[in-house]
């Protein structure tokens, strides 16, 4: 299989995805439904990752002093602030 050219490699990967999920066998409207569901799920996943794991919109002094708490700490901080209002 010619893996040198990227478009054909990507097409081949897409074909493998089709085969594994058996969407190769589906009628066109079923494929549309399935892909839109998959893309929606993927989109939601990416959105969740973006919001939770990259706290770029929170000001520095609200970072916790304990560096072990990790990315979820800002969520709990912001939740606490919201609840105390």
């Amino acid at each position: 299989m010619d893996v040198k050219s990227t478009p054909s490699y990507l097409y081949w990967l897409f074909c493998q995805f089709e085969l594994i999920t058996c969407s190769y066998l589906m009628e066109p409207w079923e494929k549309v439904l399935f892909y839109s569901f998959n893309l929606a799920m993927l989109g939601l996943l990416l959105y969740t990752t973006y919001v939770c794991c990259f706290p770029i919109n929170i000001s520095p002094q609200q970072f916790p002093s304990d560096p072990d708490l990790g990315p979820w700490s800002s969520i709990s901080q912001s939740t606490n602030r919201f609840l105390k209002q």
Partner: protein, 518 residues
Amino acid sequence: MLVAVLTYVGYGVLTLFGYLRDFMRQWKIEKCQNATEREEQKDFVPLYQDFENFYNRNLYMRIRDSWNRPICSVPGAKVDMMERVSHDYNWTFTYTGRVIKDIINMGSYNYLGFAQKTGACQEAAAKVLSQYGAGVCSTRQEMGNLDKHEELEKLVARFLGVESAMAYGMGFATNSMNIPALVGKGCLILSDELNHASLVLGARLSGATIRIFKHNNMQSLEKLLKDAIVHGQPRTRRPWKKILILVEGIYSMEGSIVRLPEVIALKKKYKSYLYLDEAHSIGALGPSGRGVVEYFGLNPEDVDVMMGTFTKSFGAAGGYIGGKKELIDYLRTYSHSAAYATSMSPPVVEQIITSVKCIMGEDGTTVGRARVQQLAENTRYFRRRLKEMGFIIYGNEDSLLLSLLSRIKYGTFYNSSCSCSATTGIIVMISLSLGSAFGREMLKRNIGVVVVGFPATPIIESRARFCLSAAHTKEMLDTALKEINEVGDLLQLKYSRRRLVPLLDRPFDETTYEETED
């Protein structure tokens, strides 16, 4: 492991879509094209709600175009197929009128290449057709016993090395109609896990108790035999009237050869009877094509009932049973097939007679011997090349059926000197879409293969089977191998990692010294 998970993912997705489609059909959003109950019967017990019907409607319909493909020429090494298209996703088919010519035929059981329209067999059959006609119009016990049948039976008995033989018109019916004549209530049948449907049907029809032992596993068989002898019949504890062991010479879906010496040793030790179904192995195993008994170098008189079919290696149709004279005389009187089924058609009988004589060498040429050797060479070559390409092969080294993605069989014990080997190859696809994709891609490249799925195989293992033939030349095999290579790369079927994987039939449960865990 990952592959199995992915297969389940695929099946899960299709099942969900199946439920969606069923919902739409029920609420009349979509036109219902499959069989349903009538309006008046909607309140009765539902007929089409079980898994098999669900599978049929939703999964099988999507891939149906790889099955029941009509051919329009003799199924030799190359075959012509009628082209058909479907405009509504395989619910109906229409023929375009075009014929796809010269498809390399890797799907017919034409092991020795006797399915020809020219040659000695065809001429003899044509002569007999002009003498006797095509129909017999009677059963064996009434007016249907021709002298041709007597000649055939004597010849088959001589070929197999048994005292006497009887031939029937249909291979499936040979098994399913004669096992009930041999065993009945109060007898025990020990049948292998992977026996063919005809053996299973015959066993069930007979009314005997059936116990199943693990595939080719002699420990399991011995345990069952011991239990049977010690405990007898379940409630009354009387001894069993007869114990019959049903095995096949070669199992068509696995490619494994039965461990005949061990089975015969067990049979003699526990005084039971052996029924050997040589449908795939007769004509193809053994140096002179006499089947699995010759392959192991055993005495044909040790096997009590030797059954086989004429469909696979002899290019005809029908089956035979061979054994002692008293047994065959009993079957002539008491078999359902002899009493009620029409006897074999004379041209077919002549085809078998000519082909058996050819294999034995009695027609004065060495064509038969050459064919058997050609088959062995073809299979060894094919097997070796597939392994080199990275596919994993199922089945015995010498076995008739070799399957890809498989567990290399431990049974190299018997692999030594015999010149015969396998005639078919099987690729295990693992999933449905891969199976149908393989079938379609191979047809696009002008090679016809048989893809087998549920319910003939377990649901996560569908297979593609290659049946080799003595009629295939090396060029045809090379072309086929090249295409298989391409399609294997395209569909990612090459799972070989150069490691032995534990086998399906494990002769010893405790020691597995030749296998490494996956």
